[in-house]
Amino acid sequence: MQLGRTARIVLGTITVVVLGLVYLPLGVVFLNSISTSESLSWPPPGFTLEWWGRALESTGALEALGTSVVVALIASAIALVLGTLAAIALSRYRFFGKETVNLLIVLPIALPGIVTGIALNNAFRTLMGVDLAMWTLVVAHATFCIVTVYNNAFARLNASGTRLEEASMDLGAGLFTTFRLVTFPYLKSSLMAGGLLAFALSFDEIIVTTFTAGTGVATLPLWILQNMFRPSQAPVVAVIAVILAVLSVIPLAIAQRLTAKDAAAVAR
């Protein structure tokens, strides 16, 4: 399709403005992390690496980072197991209420976090009568992590149909052998992609986290929120933000490559 000269200029300008709106603030955060001004004043009066050193020594930040990683790992693991099982059930078997179950599994990703947060908070404290802790946070995160794993696995299973599994059983393999030797290897890249997305979702979640984390359980986003407006901590927060931005690109890139590879494999 050919675009006229004016159209190209207008569209190009819009693209630059939009991308600039997204990425310039990120650049500002980076500058703040090396600015000599504690109050993030603009323009930066000078540059220093002091905050980077402080950040790497900040026990609060490092503990929060650890908590976030552990929560994200466990929530993703739960999501991988349950999401895969659900995807197999819904793509391979017919049963009563199947469409409803499908909707109920996917819904948590669409529900406003504040609703999920309040609901789980109530359920944990009043219905179940337990104290909020790390595990309540993990369970809360797992509810929406399942969705990414489930969606990825379900799409892959539907694209392939049952032919490979039929071939496997025809050649003498039972249900579990077929899963181990055929279905799982076939799903592996989809599960990786889904798992990475789940990890990323859990890692920076803050709304549900606020309502379901026990006292003393601070994930990195919570820690940032608590420290952002303390004068002496603001530049340290900027450092952490930069580190997170860099780290978050990695799983996203891997997930994208895996999905692209999958699409190519299915197309063949």
Binding site: E166, L171, G172, T177, L181
Partner: protein, 335 residues
């Protein structure tokens, strides 16, 4: 002799559709048996029921005398070559062929040897380490064959295995399939919608229509004596003769089918007079359509292309002859 595959009262319904209607069928050991029919005629469903992928609504499946109706696919001594091959994309060619042996717990060395032998039998030696997506359609087809025969099944089920290949390759694979079946000596059950393929390959053909076997016999029986209009037009081409047309040609006054190559044309002599309406040159032969005088009916004849010296033209007057033995009486249509 015990049948290799025996179907009794086999019935399969999908919702309101009857896919297979109370089918009885016996397939003999060592036989090349084709199930021929248009799509939706139930032939593939029957194959899938024999393999164990579908459960019949009622009826039984026996393999060499053993009732397997309720057995899972992995407990049945048959193997399948799938229409789209269904090779495992993440496994190499040799690992695909070894799969069944691996699952059965056969040792590494033994299964490697057997898999290589099977690959040799389908003339694929040397491609062991390729992945399925690196192979041509014909090669994939051979891997699928090797993967199934390596297990020495009591019967091999083939679901339109040549459908995805181009014509030249298909003809070559037909010959190889036939040779393979002869050398293995096992029953082949071959599903196809290609009547040519069914006639060329089979010892016996079952013609399917709307979930029923409408004719069962050797290729010669089915081709020379089609039982009804459907078979006469689906298997090869035929001219269907109404009773008065048959009578005018000197045959019994009944609905008949006649193959174009059994219709003779002559400049004079006995037969029914007519005028040539169309001459179609097909290369090896001429397809000649004749309007029969006073009958509002057409009949098609084939004449071999034997050179330019004797050529019929549109508008020529001819005498049309059909030997009584060349015409197949058709059963009256069920209302």
């Amino acid at each position: 002799m015990e049948s290799a595959i025996r179907l009794r009262g086999l019935h399969k319904r999908f919702g309101d559709t009857i896919a297979v209607a109370d089918l009885d069928l016996d397939i003999e050991p060592g036989e090349f048996f084709s199930m021929l029919g248009p799509s939706g005629s139930g032939k593939t469903t029957v194959l899938r029921i024999i393999a164990g992928f579908e459960q019949p609504t009622r009826g039984t499946v026996s393999l060499f005398g053993a009732d397997v109706t309720r057995l899972a696919p992995f407990d049945r001594p048959v193997n399948t070559v799938f229409q789209d091959y269904a090779l495992f994309p993440h496994l190499s060619v040799i690992a695909n062929v070894e799969y069944g042996l691996r699952v059965a717990g056969v040792g590494r060395r033994e299964r490697r040897a057997k898999a290589e032998e099977a690959l040799g039998a389908v003339r694929l030696a040397g491609l062991e380490d390729r992945r399925p997506h690196e192979l041509s359609g014909g090669q994939r087809q051979r891997v699928a064959l090797a993967r199934a025969i390596v297990l020495r099944p009591q019967a091999l089920l083939l679901d339109e295995p040549l459908g995805a290949l181009d014509l030249k390759l298909r003809e070559q694979m037909q010959v190889e399939l036939k040779e393979l079946q002869r050398s293995l000596g096992i029953t082949f059950v071959f599903v196809t919608h290609d009547q040519d393929e069914a006639l060329t390959l089979s010892d016996r053909v079952a013609v399917f229509d709307a979930g029923e076997v409408v004719q069962l016999g050797t290729p010669r029986e089915v081709y020379d004596h089609p039982r009804n209009r459907f078979i006469a037009s689906f298997v090869g081409s035929s001219t269907l003769l109404e009773p008065d047309v048959a009578a005018a040609l000197g045959l019994a006054r009944a609905p008949m089918a006649v193959r174009p190559e059994r219709v003779t044309l002559a400049d004079s002599g006995p037969g029914a007079p007519g005028t040539i309406a169309e001459v179609i040159y097909t290369g090896p032969e001429h397809r000649i359509v004749v309007d029969l005088d006073g009958l509002d009916a057409r009949i098609t004849a084939l004449e071999p292309n034997i050179g330019a010296h004797h050529r019929r033209e549109r508008g020529d007057r001819v005498m049309v002859g059909v030997e009584p033995a060349a015409a197949a009486p058709l059963e009256p249509e069920a209302a």
